[in-house]
């Protein structure tokens, strides 16, 4: 997007003039994340998390490429090769802990980024495409994280792969054939491990491509903001650089402090002890649980314990688990409220906070053994999850009377009087 008042890139150094004439890469960067990109002046810290997510992706790719130099994707030696990285490779332990916890950090950041989207209505027109690309990125992240967790070939790796790939066998008629074809066998083994490694290496670069599209699509309408009111004049915006590069720099510092505290002091806190036991197809762990970031969806999968209308419980669970995310694709058209920001939506705001609590409850149940009362709690919580997106959202947006919006971003920041005193056109 180029607002009429966006700064024009004017190289002064002869080399930059020459480069700009041959390949306008500096101009591209300047307009994307430089002084040539006007951004609303009122962004709060929730707007830091897009940059942080991008940074996490870089951490994962850099550490991952290094780990791949030492890892052996063979079911006989994969586990030992990870221990080789931990013990014998110089700084290998740091690379592995940075990568394993980098995945968790990535999901923390992305969940906050998604919440930002829910709260401030970032998915609404004219930003639907950014949202759709974001959902695709999130799905690919989940696939990548799942396959990455299989690679150390510990007990949870193996049995997690067994459970998740087993979901495909719930598909009627073709399920079993599809399952065998995807795994390259009847159960996870060397063939599955090799293709997971190959895809785990490939998908992050697909994600990079989609992130570029995500940012490109963002630059068409420009960033949203906490009021949800569109930019109207130059006084509503500040140039991305230096204002938001400075703010993102600080956000990155805070993120790195927390992330490094995790990597250096609690690197196994988020992992499961069973994954330090080599995979053993003959011995099922007492409780098979995925990594924490899958817990809410795992709870939804397991919440369906009874066949329903001739649909087997397992198939219902699989449908529901995939629908739980796929339905986000329809969000821009399910929420018909013209007001973006939940600040001015008295009813939606409360339903959204209930959803946040609901997802935490689902996550807790998903990480607990499949026993009562966790199953019953997760059933209630899953009902709310689906009703929130598919029933409440469409209905609330027609019932609710939004509160009055500020006339402009400038007004919301400066207040009506100060704005008038400065002579800024209202």
């Amino acid at each position: 997007m180029s607002f009429p008042w966006a700064n024009e890139y004017t190289p002064t150094h002869p080399f930059m003039q020459w480069l700009d004439a041959k390949l306008p890469l500096p101009r591209f960067v300047y307009n994307a994340v430089g002084a040539g990109y006007p951004v609303p002046r009122n962004l709060n810290y929730f707007w830091n998390f897009g940059v942080l997510a991008g940074f996490c992706l870089v951490i994962q790719i850099v550490t991952g490429v290094i780990l791949a130099m030492h890892y052996a994707a063979n079911s006989d030696i994969a586990f030992a090769s990870v221990e080789h990285i931990m013990r014998d490779v110089n700084w290998g332990w740091m690379m592995r802990y940075a990568h394993a916890n980098g995945a968790s950090a990535f999901f923390v950041v992305v969940y906050i980024h998604i919440f930002r989207g829910f709260f401030y209505g970032s998915y609404k027109a004219p930003r639907e495409m950014i949202w759709l690309l974001g959902v695709v990125i999130f799905l690919l992240m989940m696939a990548t994280a799942f396959m990455g967790y299989v690679l150390p070939w510990g007990q949870m790796s193996f049995w997690g792969a067994q459970v998740i790939t087993g979901l495909f066998s719930a598909i009627p008629i073709v399920g079993n054939a599809l399952h065998t074809w995807l795994l390259g066998g009847f159960a996870p083994d060397n063939a599955a491990l090799n293709r997971f490694f190959s895809l785990h290496f490939l998908l992050p670069f697909v994600i990079v491509g989609l992130v570029i599209l995500h940012i490109w699509a963002l630059h068409i309408p420009g960033s949203s903001n906490p009021t949800g009111v569109e930019v109207k004049s130059e006084s509503d915006t500040v140039p991305f650089h230096p204002y938001y590069t400075a703010k993102d720099g600080f956000g990155l510092g805070v993120f790195l402090v927390l992330y490094c505290a995790l990597v250096f002091f609690f690197p196994n806190y988020l992992g499961h002890p069973d994954n330090y036991i080599p995979a053993n197809p003959m011995q099922t762990p007492a409780h098979i649980v995925p990594e924490w970031y899958f817990w809410p969806f795992y709870a939804i999968l397991r919440a369906f314990t009874q066949n329903f209308l001739f649909i087997p419980a397992k198939l219902m669970g699989v449908l529901a688990m995939f629908s739980a995310i796929l339905m986000w694709f329809f969000l821009p058209w399910l929420d018909r409220s013209p007001v973006r920001s939940a600040r001015y939506r008295p009813m939606y705001k409360w339903f959204l906070w209930v959803l946040v609590v609901d997802v935490v409850v689902l996550g807790y149940c998903g990480g607990s053994p499949a026993e009562e009362p966790f199953v019953m709690i997760s059933q209630i919580a899953a009902i709310y999850y689906f009703l929130h997106f598919l029933v409440i959202l469409p209905i609330v947006s027609s019932l609710e009377r939004p509160e009055p919006l500020p006339f402009s971003i400038t007004e919301s920041v400066l207040g009506r009087d100060e704005q008038a005193a400065l002579g800024v056109p209202a």
């Binding site: 030992a80 400075a246 703010k247 600080f250 510092g253 059933q379």
Partner: protein, 274 residues
């Protein structure tokens, strides 16, 4: 139109969940799940404090050497330590000659294979070798111990509790759960997940090993020492990781303060949301 489909889909999933909930709840009420012996009698690991605990923890090399001695004289009869090499023992304060001697005198030898004759044989260990695998013919499968403190909830406290937790099966347990009687050849241990462990009590008497440093080798002491040793085997880089961590955090906090000041400086005089 899309909203009508959405509402129908939402009601479909909600109905499926409600159906599962109703049937599950009614069977939960009509037949509440009975407590099992494991739920009633399984115990969480006992409290254990080691020098390596906490963000400033350091290994106590004397304790690690004692733990290594317990491993060598007791555990290594059945349990391997495959991810460790003899050279790694230098971390515990042994010098090159001592490591060489430990490797050479290790009772299990390294298997060899002569590709010219097809003969299988064995040779003494050298410092570059990993600890040799141990083959065990009896009941149960003794796990490799390299990672055991990372592979169990509770870590070293679990190892310590298990080693000191052997006892007779409580009469009350047998009365309430007659089916839970420990099978022949297994041993009751409330810290073990299934309460019945194949491993016979390994530390049977005080003074089972004689420590060179004069520490009294009580069963409790031996269990603590070997637990401490197994923290080291699970992650020899533990100390280095934390030391580096403090340097990294120190730098990052300093850098973050600078970025905060830069941020405030850039925005000074500009009203926004900062």
């Amino acid at each position: 139109m899309i909203r009508i489909f959405a509402i129908l889909a939402g009601l479909f999933f909600a109905a499926g969940l409600a159906w599962s909930f109703l049937l599950g709840a009614s069977s939960y009420i009509s037949e509440p799940p009975a407590k099992t012996a494991v739920e009633e009698y399984h115990q969480h690991p006992k409290e254990l404090q080691l020098a390596s605990d906490g963000a400033f923890g350091r290994f106590d090399n004397e304790q690690l050497q004692r733990g290594f001695q317990v491993y060598k004289e007791v555990c290594s009869n059945c349990h391997s330590l495959r991810y460790l090499a003899f050279r790694d023992l230098k971390d515990l304060g042994y010098n090159d000659d001592e490591v060489k001697a430990i490797a050479a005198q290790w009772s299990t030898k390294q298997p060899t294979f002569d590709p010219k004759t097809g003969d299988k044989g064995e040779r003494p260990n050298v410092p570059a070798d990993h600890f040799p695998l141990v083959y065990y013919a009896g009941q149960g499968t003794p796990p490799d111990l390299s990672l055991i403190t990372k592979a169990r909830h509770g870590g070293p406290a679990y190892v310590y509790s298990l080693l000191t937790g052997y006892q007779d099966q409580p009469a009350e347990l047998l009365k309430r759960f007659p089916d839970a009687k420990v099978p022949e050849g297994l041993h009751y241990n409330p810290y073990f997940a299934s309460l019945a462990i194949a491993m016979p009590p390994p530390l049977t008497a005080d003074g089972q090993v004689s420590y060179g440093d004069g520490t009294k080798a009580t069963r409790d002491q031996m269990a603590k020492d070997v637990a401490a040793f197994l923290v080291w085997t699970a992650e020899p880089s533990l100390e280095k990781r934390r030391q580096l961590g403090w340097a990294v955090l120190g730098f990052l906090i300093f850098a973050t303060v600078l970025t905060y000041m830069a941020y405030q400086n850039v925005w000074a005089g500009k009203k926004g949301n900062h």
